[in-house]
Assembly symmetry: C2
Homo-oligomer: 81 residues x 2
C-alpha cells in the first residue's frame, strides 16, 4: 500500500534558533507588534510503500533518525495517512 | 489574547525542489525503496497577540505574504489556535 507521510522537524528546546530570532526582530519594523517565540523548522512530505500504517510510520521514523533530521539538535514528529 | 500559529510553507507545484530530489536520491542507498514525491518546506511556529482568532489568522497570513513566504514560488497554510 501507498502511504503519505508528513514529517515536522524542529530544533529542540534550548537550541538557539537564529532564523526564528531574525524573523522576530524583523516583524516590528514591518508593523507587527506582540509576536514572539518564533521557531523555524522543516516540513517534509513524502509517499512510501509499506505493508501497513505501523510499518510505514516505523520506516519514516527510521529515515528521520538516519537522514531527515539531526537527532542531536532536532526533534521530529511523523504523521502517516 | 495570545494565540499560537503554525505556518506551513511549501514550494508550489511545478516548482523544482532540489532538496527533496536530493533526499529522494539518497534514500535507496540507505536501503529505503519505494519512497517518492519528497517535498521539503518550512514550518514556522509563533505566538501573537490579537483581539480574536480571525484577527490572529489574518495577521499571520499578512506576515506570510510580506515576510515568511515568497508568494511567487511558495504556498502557505496557516493554523491558529
Amino acid at each position: 500500500m501507498r502511504f503519505t507521510a508528513e514529517v515536522k522537524v524542529m530544533l529542540k528546546e534550548g537550541i538557539s534558533d537564529p532564523q526564528g530570532q531574525t524573523i522576530e526582530r524583523a516583524l516590528p519594523a514591518l508593523g507587527y507588534e506582540g509576536v514572539g517565540e518564533v521557531r523555524v523548522g522543516k516540513r517534509i512530505e513524502l509517499k512510501l510503500d509499506a505493508g501497513d500504517i505501523d510499518e510505514a510510520r516505523a520506516k519514516v521514523e527510521d529515515m528521520c533518525n538516519r537522514l531527515l533530521a539531526n537527532p542531536v539538535i532536532e526533534s521530529f514528529q511523523v504523521e502517516v495517512s
